[in-house]
Symmetry: C2
Subunit: 397 residues, 2 copies
């Protein structure tokens, strides 16, 4: 029996409290509009709509996605290159099955998306970490002969940085020279707060080496389970064959409702609205952190996405900080939970999208109180360690 | 790049004509009732419902399924043993990934469900055919050390026979002695027209060797993409871990609507109604075949399911019969398309569920005309072969 590490969902399903990561502002999703579109379609369901859809998905939805990607992400593709799936997780899993054999080397960002690590681990791949700095994931080393690199260029998961232009070109060049593929997880690209949106890596790809993955989980709602892959033309048939054997096709009614939601302009409108809301929430978090968290946690600004990171001061450990925050009903997550290496445990992931200004300010005050308590205890034990030291002997530094 | 044979869907998506197999009577699905339930839920969507569900599925739906299976199928399970999936195809795929390594032997019914052959072929299994007779699939040979046997005991796909009681016990005994698993695809068990319903194989299993799979595709509608697995307790966690990594969970709103549809009694009512409708359609097909197809095609009766088979008389080849029928707008499929061996090509699969009495009678008349034309041509060419024979020489028999 195959034993693989699960991707934990239970925490994610709790009622979101500040600063749970990866949760969008669901209170502002236009459920009644979605209900209206669904109801209209349900009243006029045809026999052929009850029957099924192409394995690649509902054709009008694939056209809407191609058009959106062209305008918003610079992605160059025809609707025929798009396969509708249940989200980034399935996109990763099918890609791994299509391209990765046991023992193949795969580069993954570290820290990085745990769901991707789990998929390539289950595929029996040799996992190689790609360090991440202020400019995004570093460039893979050609000598490993890797089959694929998984990256989140728009908004690195979990650090929130965007990949710089030179890095993007170097990554594409690596793939071209190595005959490898890049899996571009366009994670949280929709919400960009600063400067011009960066076009997708895929838009720079002249050698059909980029597999582009998008999801509606954050832009609409996660329980919808809809996302897509944009494939290089020579992988389209093989992926379609695989999807037909693994689960045939995505549920049709949800695809039809989503195509209507997009073609009637609600999708673009919802993204615009949420971008403003999230930008405001981010700025409340940053302002509030400057006031209350100075000397405790340095919160990074981010150019995009639904979360950022904070770096702990005074030697406070991120696991202890997470527990202390929890006792005050504040949810944070150590950055190290998303790392496969032993790195300094001083980073916290902070989601800011699911809560209004009042809740964010309250969360910051509570988090500050929790961290102050830890710092006080830290300095007390440092003092008592100093006073118990015998003069002339080496101290316990 | 993994190259696997696709499971063809395109034919299935055409507007159904008699006698397309595996298509339920979708004109009679209560779409307005389904729409009402959906609309009611959509109007009161909570944030947590927008967020997601457990990997194993929506808890009230799993309870409804467990209760239905207990009453209708004799299946003994707790809701915790149920995982909601997109259908039998995903159930097969995840089971293969969980249990079957490259080179493992797997028994499959032959003729049998092509979608199952594709899954185990993609898993790199050694595929062993299980012959099927009037009593269902024959018992696997213990000496092959197989890992799993795939069977459709309620209504064999495609022959329509039900597995007899002795065969069921022998199969369970084989699994127990071999340490193998049985994948029970409870294909079309819901619609049984004769005698008492046979309880599932799973109800006889005292050694946790049966994996039971059910689907809502035929009972409700195929584009819904919902089905489930009932797992032996010791496989529950491993399958949940796999599902969390491959696609997280099934879409939640559809699961909620289905749970309501079941708990409010609509599900049981719809099955009862459709069972009567299908029994009537089957009897129209059999009566009409006796009148118009005598000497051309012997149509078997079936005790359950949405289709049956007919056996061609007069040496007419099933591929030629299929082409001749198509030219008269009648859709049949050679039984041999679902066989991996070179068997006599004289069987046709006939679906009877999707069409009313008038359409079925018209289809039978057209099919009779097509087959008569072929028989006439056959006997003409036999006569001309006889007349061109040189007396005293061995003939071309």
């Amino acid at each position: 029996v195959l034993q693989i590490k699960p991707f934990p969902l239970r925490d994610f399903l709790e009622t979101p409290r500040p600063f749970r990561a990866n949760v969008p502002g669901l209170q502002l999703f236009p459920t009644s509009l979605w209900a209206k579109i669904m109801a209209r379609r349900l009243r006029h369901l045809t026999t052929s709509q009850l029957l099924g859809s192409d394995t690649a998905g509902y054709a009008p939805l694939r056209e809407q996605i191609a058009e959106y990607l062209r305008l918003a992400r610079g992605v160059r593709c025809s609707p025929e290159q798009i396969v509708v799936l249940s989200g980034a997780q399935e996109a990763l899993d099918l890609t791994a099955r299509l391209l990765v054999n046991r023992g193949d080397a795969v580069f993954l960002e570290d820290p990085g998306y745990v769901g991707a690590w789990r998929v390539f681990e289950a595929a029996g791949a040799r996992l190689l970490p790609l360090a991440v700095d202020h400019d995004g994931a570093t460039t893979p080393d050609e000598r490993h002969g890797a089959r694929l690199a998984y990256v989140t260029p728009a908004h690195q998961c979990p650090l929130g940085v965007s990949m710089g232009a030179a890095r993007r070109l170097a990554l594409i060049d690596w793939a071209r020279r190595s005959g490898a593929y890049i899996f571009e997880d366009d994670y949280d690209s929709e919400f960009r707060y600063e400067g011009r949106p960066l076009p997708a890596l895929q838009s720079l790809d002249t050698h059909d080496c980029v597999i582009f993955s998008g999801s509606f989980s954050k832009v609409l709602f996660p329980s919808l389970r809809l996302g897509y892959l944009v494939l290089p033309p020579d992988l389209v048939d093989a992926l379609g064959a695989l999807k037909s054997v693994t689960s045939r096709h995505a549920p049709l009614l949800d695809q039809i409702a989503l195509a209507d939601f997009m073609s009637e302009g609600h999708f673009a409108r919802h993204i615009r609205r949420m971008r403003e809301v999230y930008a405001e929430r981010l700025s409340v978090l940053l302002d509030s952190a400057r006031t209350h968290l100075a000397g405790l946690l340095t919160v990074s600004s981010v150019a995009a996405g639904l979360q950022t990171v904070g770096w702990l001061a005074g030697g406070v450990d991120a696991d202890r900080a997470t527990r202390a925050a929890k006792s005050r009903d504040v949810v944070v997550m150590p950055v190290r939970y998303q790392s496969q290496r032993k790195t300094p445990n001083n980073g916290l992931v902070l989601g800011f999208a699911a809560h209004d200004a009042h809740e964010i300010r309250h969360g910051v005050v509570e988090l500050a109180a929790a961290l102050e308590g830890l710092q006080r205890r830290n300095s007390r034990s440092a003092r008592s360690a100093r006073s118990s030291r015998i003069p002339g002997q080496p101290g316990s530094r």
